[in-house]
Symmetry: C2
Subunit: 133 residues, 2 copies
Amino acid sequence: MQTDWLDVIRWDASGLCPVIAQDWQNGSILMQAFINREALELAVRENRAIYWSRSRKNIWRKGEASGHVQILHAVYLDCDGDSVIYKVEQLGGIACHTGRASCYFQKLEDGKWQTSSEVLKEPREIYTAVAKD
Amino acid sequence: MQTDWLDVIRWDASGLCPVIAQDWQNGSILMQAFINREALELAVRENRAIYWSRSRKNIWRKGEASGHVQILHAVYLDCDGDSVIYKVEQLGGIACHTGRASCYFQKLEDGKWQTSSEVLKEPREIYTAVAKD
């Protein structure tokens, strides 16, 4: 597989690039994480969202623990080559480890962060393994 | 103005946090940039998208040079407190310095980045000043 396209990306000093997971149909932003070369190449090859976990320092196949796999439908790069979008189909309809559809459930209102969306499934029902994803 | 809400954000070692500008109506992702405490506080106060320019090392009021101001309609924070969304109304319908609606116009197709959206206005017609934004 030709990988010239990976060289177009302006990886940062740590070899990472931020990536936004966006619902491929309704445009909702589900989460933001990071990729390295390997994660992005694997994601395209396996047609699923794969990230680099900065905390665990390893390749992170979204949904491994939860079953909430993100099927990868398209990849976009921005004008500066330093930000990527994964257009994904969120299996189970839950992207967040809190059991919500999206990780962005805190909305600023009157100088406070207010919870703006509901838990669809309790985390203890989602995770059978130790690691969250 | 109370600023406890700014302390909830997990600013990185450089005092920055990534922020995604998303069209408040159609959900399109327009750009991704960074904020520091000052940029976010000013954005909320002035009801417009304000960023921290890492290259110029200063506060960046989107639209200063181009007129393509982003009116700020809402601010969201993710579960981990380290990623923000600005829900914006993009004046002029152009967020990208290339004259496109969104910065994400490169789509991966068959191992190559293909231009997937058109230039709405030539940059030379947009910018009268030296700095792009």
